[in-house]
Each structure stands twice: as C-alpha cells, then as structure tokens.
Symmetry: C2
DNA sequence: GCATATTACATTGATATCAATATAATTTCG
DNA sequence: CGAAATTATATTGATATCAATGTAATATGC
C-alpha cells in the first residue's frame, strides 16, 4: 500500500489556513466580483475603474508610473489600455519629450463615465466599510505587501 | 475653458489612498509574482499550487467545494484543471454517486510535484513572514472579505 | 562623439478570470 | 410518479495577467 500522499493532509490544512498568498488571492477575487457587479451599469470592471481613476490627473502621465501605481506588469497595462482606447475613453499619444514614451489621458467621454462611476464606488465602498472592522488597518497591512 | 475634469483630482487621490479593492488587487498581483517566481523551479504558479494543495486529501473531492475554498468561479476551476490534467498531475473522474459531479484527486506524479513544492512555499512564506508585522491579523482581516 | 547599457513600450503565447449560456442529472413537491 | 426547480459542471467569448522577447530611443562612460 504505497498510495499514501507524500504531503500529509495536516500540511494541506496548515497551508489552507496560513498561506497569505491564497488568502489575498481569494479576497482579490471576491472584491473584484463585488465591484465588477456594482460597476456593471457603467460597463466598467474594477480594474478599468482603477486604471481610469489613475489617469484622471491635471496632465497626461507616461505608462511606467501608472503600471507602478497599480502594481501591474507593463504588458498588462498595454493590453488594458487597448480596450479603453477602442471605447474612446482614453487617449494614448506620443510624448514629445521622450519618443520611447506614451502619454495617457482620459477623453471627455472617459471623464464623464468616470464621473458616473464614482458614486457607485462610494456607495459600494461604504457598504464594505460598514461590514469590516478596521479598514484602515487592513489597508496599511496590504500596503506593506505591494 | 471647459476642459476641467468632472472628477476632481482630489477624488483621484482619495480613491487611490482608500480603495480597498485597489489595495487588495495590488497586493494580489505582487504576491502572485513573488510565489510564481519562487515556484518556477517546479513549474507551478501560485494558483496551481493552491489548487493542487486543495486536492491533496484523503479522498477525492467534487469541484464545488474546491471552487468555494478558493473563492473561485467554477468555470475558472474547470479551465485550471484542464492544464493540470494535461500535465498528468490531477485526475478528473466521474462520481458514481452523482453523475453530474466530478471527483478530483492528485496523481502520484502530482503528489510528488506537490511534495517538491512545499519546501519552496515554506521558505517563501517564511521570508514574507519576517517582512510583515502581524501576519495573523492580516489574514483574519482578509478572511472577513471572502 | 560613439559604443554600450539602460529605459519605455509592444507583441506573442500561455494561463486566469468571470458572465452568459447550455446540458444533464438529481431533488422537490404536488 | 412526474413536472418543475435546483444542482453540478462545460463551453464560449471577453478581459486580465505575466514571461519571453523584440524594437526603438535615451543615457552613460570612455
């Protein structure tokens, strides 16, 4: 009878209960679903909302700092921008000061859609806030990771 | 001059600093990269590791409880299983007690690969543990989300 | 100034994620 | 028992994620 698992079941229990990566991935999926659902009326995902919010600045931004703010691979950002660009929500233009670089900004339509999304975010976040104990503590703990 | 943003920049700053969804997504990406890097020698992603660990049980499991444990859509689980199945790491078999259902388990090769991955998880997690203040508190806060 | 290193971004391919939808099997209830 | 509701899973299509790789432009060091 050599069909015993090389990894004891107790280890499985331990990892299930202690793996921070697993816990964060689960929370990420749950929160993504929550905000995706809420933002559906404006046809934005939580990712698209965060990205567009990151582009809502007084002047256009290059891609690098945006990718860093979102802790997102630059290639992921390229892909995400294409979708929003096709929908006429963001502008990707050449940077005259550095021709390797692109400058990102919202179109007027993008600004208007973002404005429509903000109250949804506020409401959804308020519900979440009431449900959780100490949101600011959690936020700070998460900041230590990324 | 009507090209002022409908969403004031101060709101952008506020969302950036307070949105729990954004913070969790960022942490999720960072941690995923950390564990994906570490697990590369055994050719597993953090997701695949968590999934295989969830299948490391005394007896085969149906898909539903696994999807729930991982807080993952059932269709995502179906897709993830296909990859591991093709690599000969997991078995998906019919459930004689309920013919709608599938029973999931690890192959011997899967068990062996998982056994090779566990020390990597332990080491990576230990490094993380030393870097963070209060891991158990963070875990508990995350549990309240998913 | 020029060769080399670095930086900023794009493309491709593989896996991940979920909504919408479909199918088949089981359960429930009248 | 049989129709309707529910449950468990699969498929498709769109977006998300990153590694590997490539390209072009800028910066660096001699």
């Amino acid at each position: 009878m050599s069909n015993e698992s090389p990894v004891p079941f107790s280890t499985t229990i331990y990892v299930r209960d202690h793996c921070l990566c697993l816990h964060v991935q689960r929370a990420a999926r749950s929160l993504a679903r929550l905000f995706d659902d809420a933002l559906r009326p404006v046809a934005l995902t939580n990712n698209q909302f965060s990205l567009m919010m990151a582009l809502n600045r007084p002047s256009p931004v290059p891609m690098k700092p945006v990718a860093e703010l979102l802790a997102m691979d630059q290639t992921t950002l390229t892909a995400a921008l294409k979708v929003l660009q096709k929908r006429g929500l963001v502008i990707v233009e050449a940077n005259p000061e550095d021709r390797r670089s692109r400058l990102l900004s919202l179109t007027v339509a993008g600004q208007e859609l973002l404005a429509a999304a903000v109250p949804i975010w506020t409401e959804t976040h308020a519900v979440l806030d009431r449900k959780l104990n100490d949101l600011s503590r959690l936020r700070q703990d998460l900041l230590a990771i990324s």
